[in-house]
């Protein structure tokens, strides 16, 4: 009786407010077209400077923590990186010779050069999505800087990070490649078997994703490199997605899929590059 009286007293009012609020949200968010509505855009633009400041503060505190408590690990990492640099310098010297030889052979065979022209926009990550059911972050650049919906986002090494899924004037939301909503056309291993990288909830929590829908007759192996295929035009071809770390079977046991360790380390990511435009010359 008490409950009924309470519901009669307040229920209608709350339902009315809720209805108006839902309508407001739908209009404000542009009914999830990806382009932020005026309400969301305004709120996002207001938040970005504060989030930037907060992120800078947290980064600074983390750097102090790292200096104090992780000194030994950093020294070890530094030594390992020095060794890697020496190895890469040696490879770079070999590369110059190989590139020159390649150029000579191209001229001999009258072949056009194959290259990729990417136009990048660098951006800082200002905040991560607080949800445990999605993997996304916000960056400090938006449509004012020429970023468009669907643009690919990579690291400084060219490893795929994700795709722009929501856009404001001075901010954008990037859905990472491990998110449950992500679908990327992929090429796997030296054979170049085609497949699809599709996010999965349990793997997302471990920072992994999976490659499935493999073309018939194709085989995947542990250690195979996975690249974007460019199929569908959502992502440029040739971006590094990651490496197959395990081969698993679906529940029925009839189809197999590969678990992928992404090439980019999402847990330490602080800066990304948005590919605003690309042209591939074959």
């Amino acid at each position: 009786m008490k409950v009924k009286r309470y519901l009669l007293r307040y229920g209608v009012k709350v339902a009315a407010v809720l209805f108006v609020a839902v309508l407001g949200v739908l209009i404000g968010t542009g009914i999830r077209s990806g382009l932020a509505g005026p309400l969301t855009d305004g709120a996002g633009s207001l938040k970005i400077p504060v989030q930037k400041a907060a992120t800078a503060l947290i980064d600074w505190m983390e750097s102090i923590y790292g200096y104090v408590y992780q000194y030994d690990r950093l020294v070890e990492e530094n030594n390992s990186l020095r060794a890697q640099i020496a190895e890469l310098q040696e490879r770079a010297r070999d590369y110059d010779e190989i590139a020159a030889e390649n150029e000579r052979l191209r001229q001999l065979q009258n072949l056009r050069e194959k290259h990729e022209d990417f136009t990048y926009e660098s951006a800082k990550i200002v905040s991560w999505d607080s949800s445990n059911y999605a993997s996304a972050f916000n960056i400090s650049k938006g449509s004012d800087q020429g970023i468009e919906l669907g643009d690919s986002v990579v690291t400084e090494y060219g490893a795929l990070v994700g795709q722009v899924t929501e856009l404001g004037t001075s901010w954008a939301t990037v859905r990472t490649l491990i998110d449950v909503n992500t679908n990327v056309g992929a090429l796997i291993g030296e054979m170049g078997s085609s497949g699809m990288v599709v996010g999965e909830f349990t793997l997302m929590q471990q920072g992994q994703t999976r490659v499935t829908y493999l073309s018939s007759g194709s085989q995947i192996f542990q250690g195979d490199e996975v690249l974007t295929s460019g199929a569908g035009g959502s992502f440029p071809p040739g971006l590094i997605i990651g490496e197959v770390s395990a081969i698993m079977s679906e529940a029925g046991g009839q189809t197999t899929y590969g678990v992928i360790d992404p090439a980019c380390d999402l847990s330490t990511l602080s800066q990304v590059f948005v590919i605003k435009d690309y042209k591939i010359v074959e």
């Binding site: 309470y6 307040y10 407010v17 949200v25 929590q205």
Partner: protein, 172 residues
């Protein structure tokens, strides 16, 4: 002058204090707590704050602030449109209802209400992932449980903040 007399400035002041606390809490949730995941999950203490408002101010205020907090969460979260707006409003309203007919306003009662609110909010987030992506229900429930567990200690300040703000109502 008549309009001025009709406006309850004390109520407005209280509402503004709640809004200010809510904004601060959302900022902490988005900038700080989104980077800390000791149990492998991120905390989301805002539903507990809504439950606290419902507890001290009644279902109408709980529902209204639930709408406001949900609206802000929906705008800042990727992949949700009205999920938080609806679930938080219902949570706030239910907290008021439960306080009216079942429990008192003591701290332990609040902790039970907050735990339920946090769990309900986490389950509401998990359901679309289960429905649209076929994620394993057990993994989702585990995540929801851990999210509620990690958010619960962070919900403690909400009780005392809301009690201080609502205390103004009693004094007034």
């Amino acid at each position: 002058m008549i309009i001025y007399d009709l406006i309850d400035l004390k109520k407005i002041r209280r509402a503004l204090l709640y809004i200010a606390c809510l904004v601060v809490m959302l900022y902490i949730q988005e900038t700080l707590l989104s980077r800390i995941s000791p149990l492998g999950v991120r905390a989301m203490p805002v539903p507990a704050f809504i439950a606290a408002i419902g507890l001290f101010e009644g279902g109408l205020w709980g529902g209204l602030f639930g709408v406001l907090a949900g609206l802000m969460c929906d705008m800042s979260s990727s992949g949700t449109t009205v999920l938080f707006t609806i679930s938080f409003a219902v949570l706030g309203f239910l907290a008021g209802l439960v306080c009216e007919v079942l429990i008192n306003r003591r701290f332990y009662s609040y902790m039970i209400a907050a735990a339920l609110a946090l769990l309900l909010a986490a389950v509401c987030q998990a359901v679309p992932v289960w429905v649209y992506h076929g994620a394993a229900p057990l993994a989702l429930l585990r995540t929801a449980g851990l999210q509620a567990a990690w958010s619960l200690p962070l919900a403690v300040p909400s009780y005392f903040v809301c009690r201080v703000i609502a205390g103004r109502k009693l004094k007034e």
